[in-house]
Symmetry: C2
Subunit: 295 residues, 2 copies
Amino acid sequence: MRVLLSEVNISEGKNDEVVEKVKAALLINNDVKMIDFNSDKDHNRSVFTYIGEPEKVLEATKRLADKAIELIDMTKHEGSHPRMGAVDVVPFVPVEGIEISEAVEIAREFGKYMGSKGVPVYFYEDAAVKPNRKSLVDIRKGEYEGLAEKMKKAEWIPDEGPKEFVPKSGALVTGVRFPLIAFNVNLRTNELEIANQIAKAVRNISGGFRFVRAIGLHITEKDMVQVSMNLINYSKTPIPRVMEAIRCEAARYGILISSAELVGPVPLLAIEEVVRHYLQVHDFSIKQIIETNLI
Amino acid sequence: MRVLLSEVNISEGKNDEVVEKVKAALLINNDVKMIDFNSDKDHNRSVFTYIGEPEKVLEATKRLADKAIELIDMTKHEGSHPRMGAVDVVPFVPVEGIEISEAVEIAREFGKYMGSKGVPVYFYEDAAVKPNRKSLVDIRKGEYEGLAEKMKKAEWIPDEGPKEFVPKSGALVTGVRFPLIAFNVNLRTNELEIANQIAKAVRNISGGFRFVRAIGLHITEKDMVQVSMNLINYSKTPIPRVMEAIRCEAARYGILISSAELVGPVPLLAIEEVVRHYLQVHDFSIKQIIETNLI
């Protein structure tokens, strides 16, 4: 079982006809499965999330991007979300049975292909070829409007495609990132200070776990506080380790965890570690799950 | 996602040619996925385990059984495993998205079909139509050799098919049972008495959980003891509840759990409850798992 995910952000969310044509190009060969789709008129942006065999995901992404580049004209684009191109950002996310290095090859091949079609391309995150291009925020700074000037600077020459500004398409950013898990833990208290202290204890920036981002929040409808987190590498910082660290920190204040939330899609391998940890089945494999035989 | 499992036991494990022909009949339409296969020469018996959409599983089971009935002659069968027919036992197991009542309909339709083909059929477990036919052991008592006499008794008239003994095919037993989970918990001690006490505490027969069967064992290679269990309804007696009850009982003796084992295939829904319980994500659904979109 080899599963790659792609989450393509295009700069069109107002013209339904264009969005439908792009979607049709993605789905025409029935070789990938769309698991999420969002279109936002204020942002004037649509996001297609789909999974499949890595090679099929690459093919489908090329189809989608070709159609979007054909139909979207950035000289006429207005929207509230930061963007710099018609096909704005294309992260590839390794879900199962595919190494990050293999996903990087896919991203690089996709970038090369789009470059050959006349689109300036930057590689980011795990696919970055230059250290100043790791962060999407840095690459996108100045947005579409500032791109013509930015591209004249030596440090912002594109990784693939034309070296000059292309008004119609703008620039495309593609790369690889690990699956992100949105995990929130609710505490049986309304003292925000406690959630803040625990968030500080578990997040990387203040001395906690390497792959945890966390903040404390007050949840009005529950009148409880929450440690709201992004786990950016569930393999190296697994969910149960974070859960138990929070439980332990909360106990210092005489507080228990009331519930938790896994928001949005979760890779099966993240669940494998939950079973291994709590049931102490150290060699449990997702291959033992009956349904995985059907994938 | 609707997944039914079938585990067909046929009375042939010596003649590879026959077994291969039966397997070919099962797999010819590529409409089910075989997840396990066992053939035993001493038992002179083979077991085919496969999953798929309920209707496809029914079709495939008919193909398999037709071929086995054609090729196997029970008047010549010898083997060490209890048996009463060429197609001996056919349990259908609802894995996901299918109610027990729907699986019972499938079993009944399969039984009716085999009856129409001239095979005496008994329904057992959840598909039983008579109270004395719940247990496979009761139905199979006396085995093939005693079947001619047994069928003459009013209480053993078959549920489908001919009322008289059919020497070539013998009788077929089909029904529905819930997925069984083999779960063993190892304790940091070699005192068998402690494992026995804990097994007694958690198993149904001596006052424990309704759907747990358990015994204490000594595991020589680890020099530890084990609570060895079958969980026969993970939905009503979920794995985490049993795990934590064992942890609690073991603590009475100052003993911790050293590890546990999930033996063989596990339904994804049993894993859902592990996540809900330990991560306290009370509304977690297996639909959130990315890979389930591919099933």
